[in-house]
Amino acid sequence: MVYFMSDIEAQLYQLLIKELPTAPEGLTRESTLESIGMDSLSTIEFMFQIEDHFGIRFDQTGTPPKTLGDVFDEVHAKLEHA
């Protein structure tokens, strides 16, 4: 849980747990979305909710995020340039 101490990460965590089929345990930056039970639909919903919540838009090009760390880094990058 140490990875979710910042405000932004705490908010991301709240958005994430709505999309997971079971309560998450032992999440790390390296946890892949697939390994924590996210499928393609829940992933796009998660990304949409992040965009809506923070008022950002992810780039539609490039490699889709694979891990939680990928998602969080992208959010941080977008917020820094917002």
Partner: protein, 409 residues
């Protein structure tokens, strides 16, 4: 010819504006404490400003909160029902359970919110889960997913008789051997801007009274319309042998179901159609009219609806009607639309079990022309053997359920 099975109720759960079952629901209904209250200020404010809105009791874990409100209510009521029937902690027993859900308009809040984004807020897109969360069978599906229920999964939609039909059809499925155990009931949450406008336009809704909690007055001479509510109720129906085999508590036996259509008008009820459904339920139960000890009426509080229902009851029950308590509990929990039949059957079973007939709250000027004992004075103690719950819907669909104490024979 397949073997016929007796169908019993082994537990139920409900959530309404006046609490849950198990919880304060039946107590509040018997006390006549209405859950009709002002709607919180919205912008823009809808033309209807009151409803029996749920303020607490919905399961508040993030997984539940992600769903449409109608699905949230269904998940809450289903959990309560499974727990009461002793099925929440036994995944193996739950596997074969079917789910039969009645809902008039399905998960409408999600679609309403998406329209608001597009039309009012001029946003350019809606959430990816808008469609999966809006489909009519989302409550039934999400309940099955949450609790691991792999049996037949059906959703019925006949407006305000939806959950009564779901329960009746589930009873038949068990009776005829297609299922052993079904979670049957309904859910509805329609307190959205658009739907409140639609009800206002129809002019079937009551005007706010003083106090506002007295706005819905079924069977009262000064009644002037229904008041919307929201809620969900589910019952566990089982074959008698499977209930006995697992030592389940048995609340009652479901003995009769009648269903018909007026086929005369989309909104105005017709006594002839209602009479067919009541007689069909009595016939299936092998009962005479004088065997019924209590009727939980549809009793919406509209001038025309209550009068037609009284005429139907008079035609079926004749002289027995003078001795038959008939109450409407909608003044307390509001008109639950598609969930009404389930919650009102649950209240009827609570009455059977506790020996207390719920009153018709707010019946401050009993309409004597109706010829009903509408229990206006308050809850009444009585030994009940057999109870009937009626649901008469827009579209002319009628569904009547009869339950009684389990007879050992």
């Amino acid at each position: 010819m397949p073997e016929m099975h007796r169908v019993v109720v082994t537990g139920f759960g409900a959530i309404t504006a006046v609490g849950t079952w198990p919880g304060t629901l039946f107590e509040q209904v018997c006390a006549g404490h209405s859950g009709i209250r002002p709607l919180e200020h919205q912008c823009p404010m809808p033309p209807i400003t009151m409803a029996a809105v749920i303020e607490s009791g919905i399961d508040n874990d993030p997984k539940t909160a992600a769903h449409d409100r109608a699905t949230q209510l269904a998940l809450t009521a289903a959990r309560l029902a499974l727990a009461e029937a002793g099925l929440l902690d036994d995944a193996a027993l739950r596997t074969e359970i079917g789910v039969y859900v009645g809902t008039g308009a399905g998960p409408s809040n999600t679609m309403d919110q998406s329209y608001r984004r597009l039309y009012a807020e001029q946003r350019d897109r809606v959430a990816p889960m808008t469609l999966p969360r809006s489909i009519h069978n989302a409550p039934a599906s999400e309940v099955a997913i949450r609790f691991g229920l792999h049996g037949t999964n059906n959703t019925y939609s006949i407006a305000c008789a939806s959950s009564a039909a779901a329960i009746g059809e589930a009873m038949r499925a068990i009776r005829h051997g297609y299922s052993r155990r079904i979670l049957a009931g309904g859910t509805e949450s329609l307190l959205t801007f658009g739907v409140l406008h639609a009800w206002h336009a129809l002019r079937a809704h009551a005007a706010p009274a003083e106090p506002i909690s007295a706005s819905c007055r079924p069977f009262s001479a000064d009644r002037d319309g229904l008041v919307m509510g929201e809620g969900s109720g589910f019952l566990i129906l089982e074959s008698l042998e499977s209930a006995k085999a697992r030592g389940a508590p048995i609340w009652a036996e479901l003995v009769g179901y009648g269903a018909s259509c007026d086929a005369t008008h989309i909104t105005h009820p017709d006594a002839a159609g209602q009479i067919v459904a009541i007689k069909m339920a009595l016939s299936e139960a092998g009962l005479n009219p004088f065997d019924i000890d209590y009727v939980n009426a549809h009793g919406t509080g509209t001038p025309a609806g209550d009068a037609v229902e009284a005429a139907s009851l008079s035609a079926v029950f004749g002289s027995h009607l003078a001795k038959l308590p008939v109450s409407s509990t909608k003044a307390v929990h509001g008109h639950l639309m598609g969930a009404g039949g389930a919650v009102e059957l649950i209240l009827s079973l609570a009455a059977l079990n506790q020996g207390v007939i719920p009153p018709t709250a707010n019946c401050r000027v009993p309409d004597l022309a109706l010829g009903l004992d509408m229990v206006p004075e308050g809850a009444r103690s009585a030994h009940l053997n057999t109870v009937m719950s009626s649901s008469f819907a827009f579209g002319g669909s009628n569904a009547v359920l009869i339950a009684q104490r389990l007879k050992v024979n």
